[in-house]
C-alpha cells in the first residue's frame, strides 16, 4: 500500500510546480490539497496537467452560507504517469456566494465537462467559458434556485409536512 | 346432400383449394400459428426458459399464438393523426395479401394445381417482389422517422437480394431445362434433387430466404434495439399482427419454393397419399416446415448484422456465387446429370 511518505514525496514537486502562485498545500492521506485564488485556478491547473495530473475525478462545489462563499474543488489524478496514479491533487478555490464565477477548466481537463455543468446546475457556480452550461439532470421546467445550495427549501409532502 | 356435395366439390377444386386451403390461406395461418410458437419454444429451450407455457399447459403452450391472435384482433388499432390514413390502413392488408399471392402458382402435385404455366417459376418470383414495395409504403405512411428508416433499409436490402435470388432460381431452371415448377419436380424425380445437382444455388437461395424475410442474423429492417420495430413501429392491434405475420408468410412461400426446386417437391410420394389428389402436397408441406424450423432456430444463435454489412454480403458474395451457380448448372447439364 502506498505510504504517507510517498504522498509527501509528490507534494514537493507540486509545490515546486506551483511556485509563483500563492497557494496553500496540505497533505491528507492520499490527497494533496492545494488552495488557490480563483484568478490563479487556470494557471495552477495547467501546471498540474504539465506535472502529469491528466484527468479530473470529481468537480465539487460546496455551499458555505455562513462564510458567504462557495468552494469549488477539483480532484485530479493521473492515468498516464504511474508515479502519480496513487495520488489525488485536490485543487480548491473559494468564490463569493452572491457572484460565484470561476474560469472553466474544460480546456485543460476535458474530463471536467459534464461535472462542471452539473455543479453549475446544482449550485449556480458559473464556469466562465464553459461550452455548454445547460440543464443536465434537472427537469427542463425546473424553476427554483440551485437545489444543492443550503438555502434551498426541500418541498415536503404527506406525513412529513 | 346435393348442395353439400356441390360446396365440397367447389372447395376441392384446385382453383379454390390452392389459394384458400393449401398452400394458401388456411395452411398459411396454421403455419404461422405453429412456427411462431415453435420459434419461441426453440429459443426458450436454448436460452433455458420455458417459453409459451400457460395457454394449454399440457401441450407446452401450443395455443399461445391463438390467444395472441385473439388479443391482436380485439386490441384497438391506433391510426396516428399525422399518418397517411389510407396507406397506413391498406398497407398491412396489402402486404399480407401480396405476400401470400405467389402460392397460386405453386403446384400441390403433378396433377393438382391452380395455374399450370410453363413460366410458373417466374410468376412466383415476380409476385414475391411485390411485398417489399408495400413495406416501403408502410414505412413512409406511419410518419415516423424509425418507420421511414426501416422502410428504406428494406428497400436497400430488396435491391441487394433480389438479383442473386433470381439468378440462383434461374440457374436451376437452366439445369432442369424448364421454368415450369411441375416439370422441375419431375426432372428431379428422374435424376437427383436440386440440392445435390447444384448445392451452390441451394445455398445462395437459402441464405437469401433468410435475408429477404428478416430472419436472424438479417433481422435488419425491424432491428428492435435500433429502430423500435422498423417500418411497423406505429402499428398496433391486428394491423401489427398482419405485418408481423407477413414476414413469416414470405418465408413460408420461399420455403415451399425451395422444397420444390431443390428438395424434390412431392417426391417421393408415400403410397397412402398418392390416392388423394392433393395428397402429395403434404410432402412439400413437411419439407417446407422443416426448412422453416431451421430458419427460426437461427434466432437463438446469431445477433444481427448491420444494414451495410448485409448489403455488402449480398452484392459482394451472394451475387458472384449466384452467377457461379449458373455455371454449376450448365456443367451439370453438360455432363448429362440432369437428364435434359
Amino acid at each position: 500500500m502506498a505510504s504517507g511518505s510517498e504522498v509527501g514525496e509528490v507534494a514537493a514537486p507540486i509545490e515546486g510546480a506551483l511556485s509563483g502562485i500563492s497557494s496553500e498545500l496540505s497533505v491528507r492521506g492520499e490527497v494533496v490539497s492545494i488552495r488557490v485564488r480563483p484568478e490563479d485556478l487556470r494557471e495552477a491547473a495547467e501546471r498540474l496537467l504539465r506535472l502529469g495530473f491528466d484527468h479530473v475525478k470529481a468537480v465539487t462545489a460546496i455551499d458555505r452560507p455562513g462564510e458567504g462563499i462557495i468552494e469549488v474543488v477539483y480532484h485530479a489524478s493521473s492515468y498516464g504517469n504511474p508515479g502519480l496514479t496513487g495520488i489525488i491533487a485536490e485543487l480548491r478555490t473559494s468564490v463569493p456566494r452572491d457572484d460565484p464565477r470561476v474560469p472553466t477548466l474544460t480546456e485543460i481537463w476535458p474530463s471536467a465537462l459534464y461535472q462542471e455543468r452539473e455543479q453549475w446546475e446544482m449550485l449556480g457556480v458559473i464556469f466562465e467559458g464553459h461550452p455548454e452550461l445547460e440543464r443536465l439532470l434537472l427537469p427542463e421546467d425546473f424553476g427554483g434556485p440551485p437545489p444543492l445550495r443550503k438555502d434551498f427549501k426541500i418541498p415536503t409532502e404527506g406525513i412529513n409536512a | 346432400m346435393g348442395a353439400l356435395g356441390w360446396i365440397l366439390g367447389l372447395l376441392l377444386s384446385p382453383w379454390v383449394f390452392v389459394p384458400l386451403i393449401y398452400p394458401g390461406l388456411v395452411s398459411a395461418f396454421a403455419v404461422l400459428l405453429f412456427i411462431i410458437w415453435f420459434e419461441r419454444k426453440l429459443a426458450a429451450k436454448v436460452q433455458r426458459r420455458f417459453g409459451p407455457y400457460y395457454v394449454l399447459r399440457h401441450l407446452g403452450g401450443a395455443t399461445q399464438l391463438v390467444a395472441d391472435l385473439i388479443r391482436y384482433l380485439f386490441a384497438e388499432p391506433i391510426i396516428p393523426e399525422e399518418a397517411d390514413a389510407l396507406a397506413f390502413v391498406m398497407g398491412p392488408a396489402l402486404l399480407f395479401g401480396l405476400t401470400l399471392l405467389p402460392v397460386v402458382a405453386i403446384p400441390v402435385s403433378g396433377t393438382f394445381y391452380a395455374i399450370r404455366s410453363d413460366v410458373s417459376l417466374l410468376i412466383v418470383l415476380a409476385l414475391l417482389t411485390l411485398g417489399a414495395a408495400m413495406t416501403l409504403i408502410i414505412g413512409w405512411a406511419g410518419n415516423n422517422k424509425f418507420s421511414l428508416i426501416g422502410g428504406l433499409r428494406e428497400g436497400f436490402l430488396s435491391m441487394a437480394y433480389e438479383i442473386p435470388l433470381f439468378v440462383a432460381a434461374l440457374s436451376m431452371a437452366a439445369a432442369y431445362g424448364t421454368l415450369d415448377l411441375v416439370d422441375m419436380v419431375e426432372v428431379q424425380a428422374e435424376t437427383a434433387w436440386g440440392v445435390a445437382l447444384n448445392p451452390l444455388a441451394a445455398f445462395v437461395f437459402l441464405v437469401i430466404s433468410f435475408l429477404a424475410t428478416s430472419r436472424f442474423p438479417f433481422e435488419i429492417s425491424e432491428a428492435e434495439s435500433e429502430l423500435v420495430m422498423g417500418p411497423f413501429t406505429e402499428y398496433s392491434g391486428i394491423m401489427y399482427g398482419l405485418t408481423m405475420g407477413a414476414s413469416y408468410l414470405k418465408y413460408y412461400v420461399l420455403c415451399l419454393l425451395f422444397s420444390i426446386m431443390f428438395l424434390g417437391g412431392w417426391e417421393p410420394v408415400p403410397p397412402q397419399l398418392a390416392a388423394v389428389p392433393f395428397g402429395p402436397g403434404v410432402v412439400v408441406f413437411a419439407k417446407a416446415l422443416a426448412l422453416m424450423a431451421l430458419g427460426v432456430f437461427l434466432r437463438a444463435v446469431y445477433p444481427r448484422y448491420r444494414v451495410d454489412q448485409a448489403i455488402r454480403l449480398a452484392w459482394h458474395y451472394l451475387l458472384p456465387l449466384s452467377v457461379a451457380s449458373v455455371f454449376v448448372s450448365m456443367g451439370a447439364a453438360w455432363l448429362g446429370l440432369t437428364g435434359a
Partner: protein, 393 residues
C-alpha cells in the same frame, strides 16, 4: 428535418427515453443517411437527488441511498462510501471484515459484468446472450443473499465493519458456483463473443484511443480496453486487495469488442480472487473494537453465535469532527467511483459528492459515435456498460 448549418441533408433522430434500447435517457442523434453526424446524450431522466437527500440523512441512513443508483453494482459503491466515512471518523475495519468486503465486492463485479454483457447482447440482437447472462447472474445474487440476506441492495458494509459473518458452508457452495461459471464462460464464447456476427458488429467499432481515454477521464473496463492499466485496486489498493494476486486486464484495441472482452477477463479474475479470499480469509471480529464493545451485553451472545451484528446505538448518530473531509475511490464494476465527504461536525454529511463511473463515461457517447452507423449506436452504447440511473444519481 433539422436545420441551421447542416442544411436539409440530416435527420434528427430522438432515441429515447421511450425506446427499447435507450435506457432511461435520450440520445439526440443527427444522421446523414446511415451515418451519425453528431450525437448528444440527454441524461437526467432518473435523477434521484442523492447528493441532496444525503444532506438530510445520517451517515448510516445514507448507505441504502448510495446503493439505489448503481443497482447492479451496489456493494462496490457501498464500500467506497463506507471507506470515506471511516476516514472521516478515523476508524478502520478489522481484517476479517476487510476480506468479507472484498468478497462481496468481487461477487458483485461478476454480477454487474454479466448484467452488462446481457444488455450488450440484446442490443446486438442476441437474445441468447441476454437470457444466459441474466440467468447466470442469478447465481451471484443467490450467493450474495446467503452472505448478506439481501439479493441486490445489501447495505452489507457499515462504518467499522460488515453486518454479517460468513454463513457455514458458504465456501463449498461458492466453489460449486464458480465451477459452474467457469464451465459457462466457454459457452458464452461460442455463442456470443466469437460469433462471426458479433465480431463483425464490434471489431473496429467505436475505437477509443489511449490519448483520448486519458484526456476524457474515462474509467473502468472502457479505460483499460484502450490500453491504460489503471485500476484503483492496483493504484491505491484498499480492503484486502493488497494481499490478493490478480491481473489488471487490459487490451490495446480500444474498440467495442475490446471493452467487452476486458469485462470477460475481469470475470475470470474475480473468480480467481474469490477463491483466494475464501481460502485465506483471516479469523477475527467483523466489527471494529470501538463499536463492538458498545453492543448491549444482552445481544453479545447472539452476535457471537449467529455472526450477525446488532447495531450499537452509536452508529445511528455518528459525528465526524467538524471540518473533516475525506476522499475515497474504489474500483466499482463499471469503473472508478469517487466519494468526497465534508463534515460540519453534525450527524449528517454537510456535503456528499458521489461521482459514479457512468457519470464519467457519459462523455463517450458523443465522442465515440461521431461518424458511426445508426446500427452502431446500440453496439457502442452496450459496450460502454453505461447505466443511466448510476450516472443520474
Amino acid at each position: 428535418m433539422s436545420g441551421a448549418g447542416s442544411g436539409e441533408r440530416t435527420l434528427e433522430l430522438l432515441i429515447g427515453p421511450q425506446h427499447p434500447a435507450s435506457g432511461h435517457m435520450r440520445l439526440v442523434a443527427e444522421v446523414d443517411g446511415d451515418v451519425v453526424v453528431r450525437l448528444r446524450p440527454d441524461i437526467g431522466y432518473v435523477h434521484r437527488t442523492v447528493e441532496k437527500i444525503a444532506e438530510t440523512k445520517t451517515y448510516l441512513q445514507t448507505i441504502p441511498l448510495i446503493e439505489r443508483p448503481p443497482l447492479a453494482d451496489t456493494a462496490n459503491h457501498n464500500l467506497g462510501y463506507v471507506m470515506a466515512v471511516e476516514r472521516l471518523l478515523g476508524v478502520e475495519a478489522p481484517p476479517r471484515a476487510q476480506w468479507l468486503r472484498t468478497l462481496l465486492a468481487e461477487m458483485n463485479r461478476i454480477h454487474s459484468h454479466l448484467y452488462g454483457l446481457g444488455i450488450h447482447g440484446i442490443m446486438l440482437g442476441s437474445s441468447t446472450a441476454f437470457m444466459w447472462a441474466f440467468g447466470d447472474r442469478e447465481i451471484m445474487i443467490e450467493m450474495a443473499k446467503r452472505l448478506t440476506g439481501a439479493r441486490i441492495t445489501y447495505s452489507y458494509m457499515i462504518p467499522g465493519g460488515v453486518r454479517r459473518d460468513l454463513p457455514p458452508g458458504f465456501a463449498e457452495e461458492m466453489e460449486k458456483a464458480l465451477r459452474y461459471l467457469e464451465r459457462r464462460l466457454p459457452d458464452y464464447d461460442r455463442i456470443f463473443f466469437s460469433n462471426p456476427v458479433t465480431r463483425a458488429r464490434l471489431e473496429g467499432v467505436g475505437v477509443l484511443t489511449r490519448e483520448d481515454a486519458i484526456r476524457l477521464g474515462v474509467v473502468g473496463p472502457n479505460l483499460r480496453a484502450s490500453g491504460v492499466a489503471y485500476d484503483v485496486r492496483r493504484a491505491r489498493p484498499y480492503a484486502a486487495y493488497p494481499e490478493l494476486d490478480f491481473q489488471v486486464v487490459t487490451r490495446s484495441e480500444g474498440d467495442s469488442m475490446a471493452r467487452m472482452l476486458v469485462r470477460v477477463g475481469e470475470i475470470r479474475e474475480s473468480i480467481r480472487m474469490i477463491r483466494q479470499i475464501l481460502a485465506r480469509m483471516p479469523d477475527g471480529p467483523i466489527l471494529a473494537e470501538r463499536y463492538a464493545k458498545m453492543i448491549p451485553p444482552k445481544w453479545r451472545d447472539y452476535v457471537r453465535e449467529t455472526g450477525r451484528i446488532k447495531f450499537p446505538a452509536i452508529l445511528a448518530s455518528l459525528r465526524p469532527p467538524k471540518g473533516a473531509e475525506a476522499v475515497s475511490r474504489v474500483e466499482a464494476a463499471r469503473g472508478e467511483a469517487v466519494f468526497y465527504l465534508v463534515s460540519d461536525g453534525g450527524p449528517r454529511p454537510y456535503r456528499m459528492r458521489m461521482v459514479t463511473p457512468s457519470l464519467r463515461n457519459v462523455v463517450l457517447f458523443s465522442h465515440l459515435t461521431r461518424g458511426c452507423r445508426v446500427a452502431d449506436i446500440p453496439a457502442i452504447y452496450g459496450s460502454l456498460d453505461y447505466f443511466p440511473p448510476e450516472a443520474d444519481r
